[in-house]
Symmetry: C2
Subunit: 359 residues, 2 copies
Amino acid sequence: MKNLNRMRVQAETLGVTLRPHVKTCKSPDVILLGNDGKSCPITVSTLREAEYFADAGFTDIIYAVSMVPGKLERAKDIMKRGVDLKIIIDDANIARQIGEFGDQNDCNFNVMIEIDVDMHRAGLSPDAPEVIEIAKIIHEQQGTELAGVLTHAGESYECETKEQLIQAAENERAQIARAADNIIEAGYPCKIVSCGSTPTATYAQNLRDVTELRAGVYVFQDAFQAGRGCSTNNDIALSVLCTVISHKNNQSRIITDAGGMALSKDQSTRGTDFDCGYGIVCDIDGNIIDNLIVTGANQEHGIITTKDGSDFNFASYPIGTRLRILPNHACMTAAAYDEYNVVDNGTDVIDTWSRCNGW
Amino acid sequence: MKNLNRMRVQAETLGVTLRPHVKTCKSPDVILLGNDGKSCPITVSTLREAEYFADAGFTDIIYAVSMVPGKLERAKDIMKRGVDLKIIIDDANIARQIGEFGDQNDCNFNVMIEIDVDMHRAGLSPDAPEVIEIAKIIHEQQGTELAGVLTHAGESYECETKEQLIQAAENERAQIARAADNIIEAGYPCKIVSCGSTPTATYAQNLRDVTELRAGVYVFQDAFQAGRGCSTNNDIALSVLCTVISHKNNQSRIITDAGGMALSKDQSTRGTDFDCGYGIVCDIDGNIIDNLIVTGANQEHGIITTKDGSDFNFASYPIGTRLRILPNHACMTAAAYDEYNVVDNGTDVIDTWSRCNGW
């Protein structure tokens, strides 16, 4: 709840619409919990998520991965269910193909142009002439409508200090605002100006000229986000319950049944000063056990050692002991499960929340 | 088929029973294909796999992850279905607890002792006095029966040359045989002597005094196994179909919709001279495109570049092009899917094979 409320207050304070990215939780229950039980605008990373959240009554959805012609039929079906689905592109040829498909199928696609603010991934530079070229195509042709611009400051994941994060957030804001300005100056509409990532959303000081904020991991947080200063390890609301299965008294480690399948092979904290291997170790009640991390992850075996190689009284966690592992990267770890067990007081399961997986 | 037959011939030649580890494929269809459509002894990494394969008619199963008391109820239920389920342990206290549970529940557990031949993970040294102590407990108490010994030469994954692999296989054989000898000399039975891993199974020159060979990844192979000389990249029988979704003409990369969720975050080839990032890139027909690998994997975005940073004509793979990615680690990649599409001639789906996931 704390994680959900913090981001909600942040968006309210900055005067923008919070459009949660459901790629992390993939669970309507989590998003509804963060919005007084009411549906809200969301972002999805797969069309499967769009369908799943549409089933749960969500009707305002941005699919924030570049659209390709082969997925238009499915997108059309989602729109025909009454969903205001917005898609993103960064290519003029694709813009034309979407228009053609829309025109032929009596369907008007709301298209956003993806902007690249930090050379991270897909998208066009704010000042690239292609932005205006694509805006013109989308606005003027049949079958498409220009809905706005969108960016994701993915490079903010590399920021090491609070100052760098604040700067990354301001860079994201300034550049997406400039892209929108360029489009408006050229005479085209640009209603939605969307930016975000958990780090930049957390550290944004102002979001002038931005209309919407996206973030996903904040709902659970994880060891990577905590290491980057977006939360603390105690804020992490997702854990993998496991059992100690083997114990060598003469070795400085214990083995659990939570390996790569249960935790994922994500090692995003690797190489940082908050490296926690494959996860941070807690007791069954969720209290972090100082200095213990998951240093190895075979398929169904997790190897727990001390972080710094120092001695530890592993005998106090005999075979059969249940532990919790806080994930390196919540999105990847949650993907191994079909549902969440919501716990109170460590072990009392008070609810079960479903989630979708796949594509 | 070639991968399946090769391991089958290897086991036949060495005079041992092949007991496939189904942790990789988790699909009865694959295992049946490798055994003329008939069920056979198998190894599982989760009780879920045991249940799933029992549903498909498999009745001789080793659960090759240390048993803990909390899972005995479920193991009992599997046995009550007529499955000859064998479990493994490496601890005397757990041996006693299993006996107690078996005795109280009118159930006789077939227990194997896990042996550690290379300090890789769980298990006892072949000559550890605990091996005999546990053998005695299992053999003499009510509720358990001693079924044999089992080891997994996990460190063989670190071998860099053919000679090292042959030596790792011989070390695995010699040490598990010695553990069995010790038990028999102490006056206890030791019917099953089980060893294996895809690298050692592939490179074993003889398996004297061993009764069973286990291996899992060989059914599909992957970039890691190929790099280690257990197959070639052309033998890899598992691929992820994806689509080029973004393209920057001024940058030496393309972006696909197969990211960390689709490929897994496994980077087991990292740091080797066959490092392929998150996978090897093929055209739709499965022909490897020289020098292209997946160097980055965000949640739903895969970044493809040349392996050595050299120039490449990415324009020949425009947005919408479908590609196949051969996985770094087949077990982890396959886990993202509920079924396999079996293809012939690149794209003709001729069958669908189901698989289980979860625990």
